[in-house]
């Protein structure tokens, strides 16, 4: 089983890529309305492979093999100066990388110590994939959700002229996403980080004739680029500090060639080969490799690691739509609903969470960075929940709810404890199910309502669309965190982790975050059920755009809804019960087998369902029920109460704030976009009227000089002769002087 891991690992991204190529080449002419078949089959294959991979990884863990690395080919390599010098000598102290060069040191050692020639560390980047628990979980989740979404989309997008284009993009996205979670190198992570951003851009702008869609796609790309700016800075700093960007350890073996050809380089990435002393070569210690993690302070304690963490956090904030870079996600709802479900709820937006989970050892080195992660997460969760209260667009409510839930995940990861990290990843996993479900349900509603998604336009759909109604209700219950739905278990774990951290460090920010999270949970339940009641209860209202569409969606769409609803009901309880995710007292759980997370394992031994956990669970349930109750009161029982509450909020200005999304878009526009645009116009003006004018002045100088002497060339032959004669005289005069 274990020996299949490399093959599975390669197979999982390759299938979607092949499907993307097939659809892109054949889609327009040959496949047309059948374009979903290759993609659906490929994704189903990937999904199967991912499940097998999970089992394979699990089995390998019994033999204490937690990390599997596959090297495909060398992407780029800039050899270090001198054979074998570089990474292994890289000093982890800052500023690093002053290595003594052996050739030089023979000459004059006294001089060398003072003025050694700095070596550029070898830059070698292989295309490397890895499999460990974290990757396996992400792969399983991504391929499963995307398979369902593709099946759903084959009904949803049906009849669109860009049918094949949609499926080609989705397949490309799944390829990029699976690569993103399985690569073993920061550069490749960045590569696919941007690649999923591209797919998101293309899919948001799928209906590019809609100006709003085109603008939203661009906004998403640009805001993500701002995040990537931070991510890139973080990656560069990592490289200059540690001299490598690989996650894993590797061993570089240079085999000199006999006949004068260039030496061949063999790179071992298999952990066993790396640690085998019989294989010669220099070991390069990856950032999350065994060697480094075994150190006392693997990343030092300095401000550099904090800077790196914060810069990576900027990247994560961009991708996972955290404040202040969250502005793109609500706009991204201009894309087709399956895209919102797949990319902007379940998979791509969790890449930031994945990044931080992957970098847990880095964050562990900087308490400050951890606090920032938690604070941003908690703040974003609250902010997005507040905005979601007053939105009327069903998909935007869900988008803000996604932002809010992602905030919860950040909050959990920021605690840095075993429980926190698992809770964050657990929530990521369960959230993928119920949020995809909710978005697909919203898509189903939108499909029936002829593209109308404004909650003021329709209502009372529970009889027209029973399956959608029930599945949506399941999603809402899961999102609100009602026992025994999936959301309850994961959200509860997060709240418990934060509460635990707060009790460990009294007086720290975690105490406030804990209360904030509880309040956010209340808001979540309220806005979720507000949307639910408005859409499915009350009197039946159908907008005229719906026409004859106003009926339940076809089976190809409701099927995935049902499957996801079952998932939303069961996944949380199942994993809680088996302890596969969160672990038990004696068994750390599957996720914790990830090599980079094992360090956390030792910290918490006697954790589990302690008394505090139970209290938290009780409070959170009460809070969620209160939220649902309030929503019921406002939108079913006493509509007048809702209106008076809104009036009250309006008089305080709160309603405007929430409805206007706290005017963050406007603030961004006024503080960043407009000044830059004005600067651009100003510079363009300067370019023309200053810089080019100076250039032209250089041209004008000889011209002016010429103009002064031009009259001499009057054309009169005798004048020329006179000048000639006078000149000769003058010459004679000077000669005879």
């Amino acid at each position: 089983m274990e020996s299949y891991i490399p093959k599975l690992l390669i197979l999982i991204p390759t299938l979607p890529l092949l499907a993307a190529v097939v659809v892109a080449v054949l889609g327009k002419r040959v496949l047309r309305e059948q374009s979903h078949w290759p993609v659906a089959l490929a994704l189903a294959g990937s999904c199967l492979a991912s499940v097998l991979l999970i089992f394979a990884v699990q089995q390998a863990q019994k033999n204490h093999r937690h990390e599997h690395v596959v090297r495909l080919w060398t992407w780029a390599a800039v050899e270090g100066r001198g054979a074998g010098s570089g990474g292994q000598e890289a000093n982890t102290q800052y500023p690093a990388l002053i290595t003594k060069n052996s050739v030089l040191s023979t000459k004059n050692s006294a001089l060398i110590t003072k003025n050694s020639v700095p070596t550029t560390p070898a830059f070698r980047m292989d295309i490397v994939l890895r499999a460990d628990s974290l990757t396996a979980i992400m792969l399983g989740m991504v391929t499963f959700i995307s398979t369902l979404v593709v099946i759903y989309a084959s009904g949803y997008i049906h009849g669109d002229p860009g049918y094949w284009r949609f499926f080609a993009y989705v397949a490309l996205f799944v390829f990029s996403m699976t690569m993103l979670v399985s690569v073993s190198n920061f550069v490749l992570l960045y590569v696919f980080w941007e690649a999923v951003g591209l797919c998101s851009y293309l899919l948001i702008g799928f209906w590019f004739e809609k100006p709003a869609a085109a603008a939203a796609g661009m906004k998403a790309f640009l805001v993500n680029r701002v995040g990537d700016f931070g991510f890139a800075l973080g990656v560069f700093l990592l490289w200059t500090t540690f001299g490598t960007l690989d996650f894993h350890d590797s061993k570089v073996q240079t085999i000199p060639a006999a006949d004068g050809h260039a030496a061949t380089t063999v790179v071992h990435v298999d952990p066993q080969a790396v640690e085998n002393p019989e294989i010669p070569g220099t070991v390069e210690h990856g950032i999350f490799g065994h060697w480094r993690l075994a150190q006392e302070h693997p990343f030092g304690e300095g401000s550099v690691v904090t800077a790196i963490c914060l810069l990576l956090l900027v990247g994560a904030c961009g991708k996972s739509a955290q404040f202040p870079l969250h502005v793109w996600l609500p706009d991204a709802m201009e894309g087709p609903s399956p895209v919102s479900a797949l990319i902007h709820a379940a998979t791509m937006v969790t890449a930031g969470v994945y990044l931080i989970a992957r970098c847990t050892p880095l964050y562990a080195a900087s308490l400050y960075a951890q606090e920032v992660v938690s604070t941003i997460g908690g703040f974003t969760a609250l902010l997005a929940a507040l905005i979601a209260l007053t939105q009327t667009d069903l998909k935007r409510i869900l988008a803000y709810s996604t932002v809010s839930q992602l905030g919860f995940m950040f909050l959990a990861l920021g605690t840095g404890s075993q429980l926190g990290v698992t809770a964050g990843m657990f929530h990521l996993f369960t959230h993928a199910f119920f949020k995809a479900l909710l978005f697909l349900g919203a898509g189903s509603v939108m499909h029936a309502m002829g593209g109308v998604i404004d909650l003021r336009e329709f209502g009372g759909l529970r009889r027209k669309m029973p399956i959608t109604h029930w599945t949506f209700l399941f999603g809402c219950l899961a999102l609100s965190g009602i026992i025994p739905f999936a959301g309850f278990w994961s959200k509860d774990a997060i709240l418990a982790a934060v509460a635990e951290k707060a009790s460990e460090a009294p007086g720290s920010i975690y105490g406030y975050l804990s209360y904030g999270a509880m309040f956010t949970a209340f808001l979540t339940a309220f806005y979720t059920f507000r949307a639910y009641f408005l859409a499915f209860h009350g009197e039946e209202r159908i907008p005229k755009e719906a026409g004859h569409h106003a009926h339940e969606s076809p089976a190809v769409m409701t099927g995935p809804l049902v499957i996801l609803a079952i998932g939303a009901l069961t996944v949380g309880a199942y994993f809680q019960w088996t302890g596969d995710f969160l672990g038990h007292k004696d068994h750390p759980g599957f996720l914790m087998q990830t090599p980079s997370l094992t360090a956390l394992q030792t910290e918490v031994v006697a954790e589990g369902s302690g008394p505090s956990h139970l209290t938290v669970a009780l409070i959170s349930t009460v809070v969620a029920l209160a939220g649902i109750g309030l929503a019921w009161l406002f939108y079913i029982a006493r509509r007048d109460l809702a209106e008076s509450a809104a009036k009250l909020a309006k008089s305080l200005g709160l309603y405007t704030l929430s409805h206007g999304k706290f005017f963050i878009d406007e603030i961004d526009r006024a503080l960043i976009v407009r000044p830059l645009e004005a600067l651009a116009v100003l510079l363009a003006q300067i370019d023309r009227s200053v810089i080019d004018a100076v250039v032209n002045a250089f041209g004008a100088f000889p011209r002016a000089l010429g103009a002064t002497f031009r009259p001499l060339q009057g054309g009169l032959v005798q004048f020329y002769a006179l000048v000639m004669a006078l000149s000769v005289l003058a010459l004679l005069g000077t000669l005879l002087w």
């Binding site: 690093a96 990388l97 003025n115 796609g217």
Partner: protein, 547 residues
């Protein structure tokens, strides 16, 4: 291979003299000639052994006077640096011919003659191994392009052509003076060897006996005048947007794709190897100029309303990245900078070709006149988006590799070396440079969004718009293939480039690293050279030359 290089080099020129006849005949002939050139270049690339310094070299005494004391050679050869630029030129020449196919409607045979002559000129610049020969080709490229812009350009063509010609000529005269001074200094420096114009020999001599520091700085400035205008480095860039806007599409392609690279190539071939101390001393200034170009070009591009102007300013920004990579003076950055030269040629060449195709269909270059045309010309829109993504450095395509490597090198310079008084500035520069990537995405994507997306704009004239023809697709597909190739497997390109760049810039890289002795030496310009220092440089060079 020798014959092949010579044949490839002169094939376009010979074809130019034979071109004639009607429109069909002229353009077919030009296409055949450029394709043959491309085939020659591909064979040369395929046969290039990694690490070769003088591949397919030919060295004739061209004219020698004073009993060979003055020995000007006809000397051509390829090394890792020239190789890719040579191949790029051959590729873009084919694209240029295909793009001109329908666009040029008068005096075709004359047009293709100039185009082919320009081809030989550009190929010659990159293979010349003799200073006089280099300068000859260097100036020779100006003449055909002058006529291409001046005759087949748009409204302001005369002004643009003259400005382009004079601006670049003014700088290159200083460059010639500088190069001749190097030759004379080398001759007079007392080693007893005859006067040589051979670039490799001069490089070797100067690396063994470096010039006095002050002389180096003056010469660096002289060379800078010519090369920086060619690049063009901010603030010497104003000829570029004008020339691009007025030039016919093929002219823009070759101008952006190849001619700008002559500037960066000049820095890599002459300034860094021959004047390493000066290059190292000027590094902060050059880095500031580069990063100013990056940001300035990007911001000004943001405010443009003309397609070609926008792309022209984006060139200023991208070439800023190239220069940043070159003058970060370490290995990773130099590799990235050199690769970025090729990348920019491919993606911007493609963009200019596409703008030419748009112009041919819509007869306008104003961005505001377009809107939503992705519905009408989906294939064109696809290629435009592709080239845009390549140009903004999307991973998986070529732009990313170059930008990533060179920024990584810049960070190495800023954070990874011993702190000097410049370190803070380096850090500011590197962060600013990364922010240029964000701006780049902004202006390019808003261009695509404004031109291709949104609702289709009503037009006054009603002639039917056709999507790309097979010929146009054939012009773009090779570019796309190479773009993806570099993006997915840059190693193939870097491996061939690396030895040459190491060999050329090893000394400058050593000089750029902060050392007490070197600082002392710079203060006392004409002092005796520090023997120990010399040894260090020499041994460092040996290490650098190791494959």
């Amino acid at each position: 291979m020798k014959t092949l290089l010579l044949a490839t080099l002169f094939l376009p020129a010979v074809a130019a003299t034979l071109t004639g006849g009607g429109r069909m005949q002229a353009r077919c002939w030009a296409l055949v000639a450029s394709l043959a050139t491309l085939v020659g270049a591909i064979v040369l690339v395929a046969g290039f052994p990694i690490g070769a310094e003088d591949f397919a070299g030919t060295h004739w005494h061209w004219f020698a006077a004073m009993d060979k004391a003055l020995d000007i050679q006809f000397s051509v050869g390829l090394d890792g640096l020239s190789l890719w630029l040579f191949a790029l030129t051959a590729l873009l020449l084919v694209v240029a011919v295909l793009v001109s196919w329908e666009a040029i409607k008068d005096q075709e045979s004359l047009y293709y003659r100039f185009l082919l002559l320009l081809g030989t000129g550009m190929l010659g610049v990159f293979v010349a191994r003799d200073i006089i020969l280099f300068y000859l080709f260097f100036e020779f490229t100006l003449v055909p392009l002058f006529f291409l812009i001046g005759i087949w350009g748009s409204e302001q063509r005369r002004y643009a052509a003259i400005k382009f010609f004079l601006f670049t000529l003014a700088g290159s005269v200083l460059t010639l003076l500088g190069l001749l001074t190097i030759v004379l200094w080398d001759w007079n420096s007392g080693s007893g060897h005859p006067m040589t114009f051979s670039i490799p020999e001069l490089t070797a001599h100067l690396q063994a006996h470096s010039m006095p520091y002050h002389l180096q700085v003056w010469l660096f400035l002289a060379l800078f005048a010519g090369f920086a205008i060619k690049v063009p480095l901010f603030p010497l860039h104003t000829w570029l947007p004008l020339a691009h806007v007025e030039a016919p599409a093929a002219g823009s392609i070759l101008l952006a794709g190849v001619l700008l690279k002559i500037g960066t190539y000049g820095f890599l071939r002459f300034s860094l190897p021959m004047l390493p101390d000066a290059a190292a001393a000027c590094m902060p200034w050059m880095l500031w100029l580069s990063v100013a170009g990056i940001l300035y070009g990007a911001l000004v591009a943001l405010a443009q309303t003309d397609l070609k102007r926008l792309i022209a300013y984006s060139s200023v920004s991208h070439l800023g990245f190239c220069m940043l990579g070159i003058f970060a003076l370490n290995r990773v950055a130099l590799q990235g900078g050199a690769l970025q030269m090729i990348n920019h040629g491919l993606s911007t060449g493609g963009l200019f070709a596409l703008v030419g195709m748009l112009y041919q269909r819509y007869h306008t270059r104003r961005i505001a006149d377009f809107g939503g045309i992705a519905r009408e010309v989906p294939v064109l829109a696809f290629f435009m988006l592709f080239m845009t993504l390549a140009s903004i450095g999307l991973p998986g395509l070529n732009g990313f590799v170059g930008e990533f490597l060179l920024l990584m090198g810049m960070f190495q310079r800023a954070w990874g070396t011993v702190a000097t008084e410049w370190t803070v500035q380096y850090r500011v520069i590197s962060v600013l440079a990364v922010s240029g990537v964000v701006l780049g995405a902004w202006y390019m994507l808003s261009l695509v969004a404004r031109v291709f997306f949104g609702p289709l704009r009503e037009r006054k004239h009603t002639e039917p718009i056709t999507d790309l023809t097979l010929r146009e697709v054939a012009a773009l597909v090779p570019l796309c293939l190479v773009i993806v190739w570099i993006g997915v497997q840059p190693k193939f390109f870097l491996d061939r480039m690396a030895p040459a760049i190491d060999q050329l810039t090893g000394q400058a890289m050593c000089a750029a690293d902060p050392k007490e002795e070197l600082a002392q030496r710079r203060k006392g310009a004409s002092e005796q050279r520090n023997e120990e220092m010399d040894d260090i440089l020499k041994s460092a060079m040996e290490i650098a030359r190791e494959p």
